[in-house]
Amino acid sequence: MPDSAIPATAPAFAAAAEAAIPPRRRPRWDRLGWSALTFALLALGAAVMVVPFLDMVLGALRTPAERLARPPVYWPRDPQWGNFVKVFSDMPLARWFANSAGVTLAITALQVLTSAMAGFALAKYRFPGRDGLFRFTLGAQMFPFFIFLIPWFFILRYFPLMGGNDWAGQGGSGFLGTYAALILPFAVTWYGIFLMRQFFMAIPDELLDAARMDGAGELYVFFRIALPLVGGGLATLALFVFFYHWNEVLWTMTVTRTAPDLQTLPVGIYLMRGTYENEATKSLQQAAVVVSTLPVVIVFLALQRYYVASVTSGSVKG
């Protein structure tokens, strides 16, 4: 298996991913005309990216009368900034937010840990079945999610000894209706294992052997020597997982339909849409959507360099 050209540390990689190409000698075709065209194109695209968000903000500011008016009003004349606060009392936004944060952090921690453990084992040890297991993690990535949807539901429901179930899994509701149902099926990520294996393979074996000769046990080698060396990789994986699972809707919705206390932010907003079927009340729904996107946007803006690195790290091959 050829090694890829991924640098072993995140800052170096992040810098590589982030830098634009500054050619020393500008090729003949990069004149002012192209520069202007480039700018125009990027600006147009950026506008298309951002304008829908702004449209939502405007929508959140309209009054019910403006929403019902004919002809329809676009620019709010009496902006209801209070809507952004009112949503917190109209809907359990804070609770949803806490659920999202808790569940996503738990999933992230579990996935990073299991990916690191499995990636380390696959990268740094020789044992029978190693290549088979690795090929399994590759193949497993090709299984689309919907094939697991129904089975997971029933496996969690009939899990023995959980949620009032007896040894045969009958009688109760298993893991359903608990946070475990939201977290457990996502405890492992095949992509994460693949990624961490890449990072671990860049660590020279001699480093680990040296520690072993000094008397270190395998757990020490893993936790104290190997893991710190792939800190960048862990960070990029964590970010990737975090953003992906913060926005996970389908499974969460299936499992929390009847457990409103467990609902996460996107799921809660979606399932509450019945309250906002009336045109007059839709401003609040829009305000809720705006508020729901803000935390993620803020986190993203703060950490985007590393997030960008995580997105690009899996695909780049020489």
């Binding site: 429901r157 000894l161 959980m162 298993g174 009847t258 399932l271 009336n278």
Partner: protein, 419 residues
Amino acid sequence: MTARLWGATAALALAAGAGAAQEARTIQVATHYTDEQVAPLLACFDAYEAENPGVTVEHQQTAYGDFLQTILTSRVGGTAPDIYNVYSVWVPQLAAAGTLEVPPQDMLDWIAASYSPSTLGAATINGQLWGIPTELSIYALVYNKKLLEAAGYTAPPATWAELREIAQKITRVNDQGNIDVGGYAYGTSVAEGVHPFYSQMFAAGVAPYAEDGRSTNLTSPEAVRILSDQAALFADGITSNAIAVDNFASGAVGMQISANWNKAGWQEAFGDGFADTVGVARIPHDAGPGGTMLYSFLWAVDSTSDVKDEAWDLLRYINTPQAEGQLSCTGQMMAGMGSLTGNAADLATITAGADDFDRAFIEEVTSGRAVTQPNIWQASEVDRILRGYIDQAWSGAMPAADALAAADAEIQAILDEQP
């Protein structure tokens, strides 16, 4: 390590079991009503809790479009609520799946005594009454008096031809060619497409499904005529998907076939002008005796509930008038929405205080013109299929006859599955 794992699991199981035992007196009630609509009922729950210490009542709200899915998912997942407020057409499916608890005999007697016979029909499948009828919704032609007057009409249409004429006069198109004010409107949800169609069929004197629920009348000449008339409205630009029943509150719709539970929303939108703006008329029909569709909901208890006695007690509490001449809790909720109820005492109270809007709908019930929507097998799936084909006819992709024939084929296959 393994021993510790099993120990932890056992401890967890014990804790879970203990936790479950502590909450044995919580009654979970699932409805599709929004917080605003259900407010009177929640107040009643508080009163019930005060009178019955040790019992807590929780309300679970679900959007109507998700409601059946949520009930089924919760049942399948073993996390079902104790009391359902369900749409009566789902009862065959739920009852066949063993989801509903058969009411105890004293309950059955009480229901039979307190509810009008016509409403009991909706809650009875194969002779078995499954719960307490609640919200009663009737379809009628709702129209905007101001828009009709502006177009020169003082009376609502009685036939489809008149409806077409009025709608054409009212419909206005904006610069982009999209309908701004619609003479007639439909809606995007399954019910908003299928129920007007059913209502028109009842008005034409042909029920959509056979009495035994094993075949359809969707290919009858009346049905084909109704659908092609509807499609003609789209084809001739009189209505389109741009204008929907939701726009009625904006004063942008001339006429639509809607149910009475929309009243609260319209009262809020039109304010004092409600009585002068919103008119109710019978569903226009060309031939046949006239009529319309009514559907109802019912309160039922889950068969796996561990608080069944408490649940039935709560249900009796909220469906009994608080005092002479007053509405029951459910009745208050219904009246707040503008809906009617099957409870004889409540209906009498509502009728006493009814305005023109209510009276028009009540009349449809008392005159016997309103016929219960049939409780057929896999009703939700059938409605979804029918809506898809109605769409095809409306968009002109299929002629009405072909669309109904295709719908009939698919639906017949499903109806054949029933035992």
